[in-house]
Amino acid sequence: MYSEKVMDLFRSPHNMGKIENADGIGKVGNPVCGDVMYIYIKVKDNKIADIKFETFGCAAAIATSSMITDLAKGKTLDEALKITKGDVAEALEGLPPIKMHCSNLAADGLKAAIEDYRSKQGKGKGQAAPKNVKQEKKE
């Protein structure tokens, strides 16, 4: 059902985890549907210096999360905003049609994180701690 690439990233996802004091956080998805993704970014010189994810969801959701972090890392914010769901799916050597909404989620998550960063910049507040997210790891 899934491509080799999807299964590889599902088994060994890149950039998994959270960034403490992230510059921007994108939270997308809905637990009712079974996919929720948090994307954390660190921004330096208008570029994505670091990016990590936490995901609740299926293998496609995890693989797309991992892929978006690889695609976005080192890009300028404007370049990163141009990454589409199609780019993510293509980089994963395709997704089952019914799972395409998961890759939508990854691009949306990145966009939300960048918007979060920009809105904080606009307000001049800098880095706010995310709401509803515990700071310590349980395991």
Partner: protein
């Protein structure tokens, strides 16, 4: 890597003895049971011997057993056949919210044909109460169809009590016994069952064969028209090798049921006890009134498809009711019916154990499942203390 099969509610390994019993009917006794020559009569004899063996397992008469292609066909035949044969008496059918899709979708089809269907709710354990059945019966009720045991959460329904009510009220009673046939004792007379569906491949028989029990005298309209096989109830050349294999599986099940149930439920109980030691882990279904091999867990903060695929990487084959693994992207209707929220239903894992499984395999599962759960929880944005219900 060793692979462990823990998805026995989906299908089972065909017994070696079953395969051996079937073999001559492919290459030696390959006649058509409708033919008058010796080839045909050999097949006919095998067919009737098989019918007798299947009947014995559920205390039915051989002439009350009709072979079909499986549980789905039997369920379709029971519902449509009774509905169309009795439509002049009434158009009301009672079923439950946790039936297999073969029942649920056939009921939805019948609704489009002008029948009225009541879908009874279940309690948090998945039990259909006999009282709810009783109060749903109307003057125009022609059929009650309640499964013997649920295929997902393993809950065994009070079918005997429901059968009694149906008989008293003069309403026909069908039970989908696909999960219990050969696993749990069935006596169609004692249980007041008028129609019953079963499938061979759930009890170590071959795929593509099943049966329907129809109590003598019950009117059912045939759904497959043709050469008038199975005494006109189900046309189509009989699948003799499959039927012979099914009968062998029935014979083995009858002889070994007590021994196998003891072994399987002991393994299941140990697995449940150990897995429930994992934090934020729950058992779905009834604590005791459940299929011997069924363990159905719910792990908070993680999603079932990921869990299933990571377990598969460890060689453990299981199943989930998560939406992400279904064709429709809807969570299991059974898990929603027992009151779970959609987000809770996503973290479910079904392990179904059979006689082929071993204590060493249970040990391996007890060691590996918590590790896989922990690795996915580490990745999850939801942690202990969260309500797991944040919206976008």
């Amino acid at each position: 890597m060793k692979r462990i099969y823990f998805d026995n509610a989906a299908t089972t390994r065909t017994d070696n003895e079953v395969v051996k019993a079937m073999e001559p009917y492919f290459t030696k006794f390959y006649g058509n049971a409708s033919s008058l020559h010796t080839f045909g009569q050999e097949a006919r004899k095998a067919l009737e011997d098989s019918r007798k063996k299947a009947a014995e397992l559920i205390n039915a008469k051989p002439n009350e057993i009709y072979f079909t292609s499986g549980g789905t066909e039997s369920d379709n035949l029971a519902l449509k056949g009774v509905a169309y044969a009795n439509k002049s008496k009434g158009k009301h059918i009672i079923t439950s919210k946790i039936e297999h899709h073969a029942i649920e979708h056939t009921c939805q089809y019948l609704e489009k044909q002008g029948f009225d269907v009541t879908y009874l709710p279940v309690d948090k354990y998945g039990i259909v109460t006999p009282e709810s059945v009783k109060s749903a019966i109307r003057k125009d009720t022609i059929l009650i169809s309640i499964m013997h045991a649920n295929n997902e959460i393993g809950t065994i329904e009070p079918v005997k009590e429901i059968g009694k009510i149906a008989r008293e009220k003069g309403v026909l009673f069908h039970t989908d016994a696909v999960q219990t046939f050969g696993k749990v004792p069935i006596d169609v007379k004692d249980m007041n069952v008028d129609l019953l569906s079963s499938s061979s491949h759930k009890l170590h028989g071959p795929k593509g064969v099943g049966l329907i029990y129809i109590r003598e005298g019950v009117k059912v309209e045939q759904q497959m028209l043709g050469g008038g096989h199975e005494r006109g109830m189900r046309s189509g050349t009989e699948n003799i090798p499959g039927i012979v294999g099914f009968a062998k599986a029935c014979e083995i099940a009858k002889a070994d049921m007590e021994k196998d149930t003891k072994k399987v439920s002991a393994m299941r109980d140990r697995l449940v006890k150990e897995i429930l030691k994992t934090e934020d882990t729950y058992l779905n279904g009834h604590p005791t009134q459940r299929l011997p091999g069924n363990a159905h867990f719910r792990f908070s903060f993680i999603e079932g498809e990921s869990l299933l695929l990571r377990l598969d990487d460890k060689g453990i084959a299981a199943s989930t009711g998560s939406a992400c693994s279904s064709k429709s992207l809807e969570p299991s209707h059974v898990l929603l019916a027992i009151g779970l929220k959609a987000e809770e239903a996503h973290g479910s894992l079904r392990i179904t154990i059979e006689k082929d499984n071993t204590d060493a395999e249970i040990d391996y599962a007890i060691a590996e499942i918590p590790k896989v759960v922990a690795s996915l929880r580490e990745m999850s944005p939801f942690k202990k203390g969260d309500a797991c219900i944040q919206k976008k």
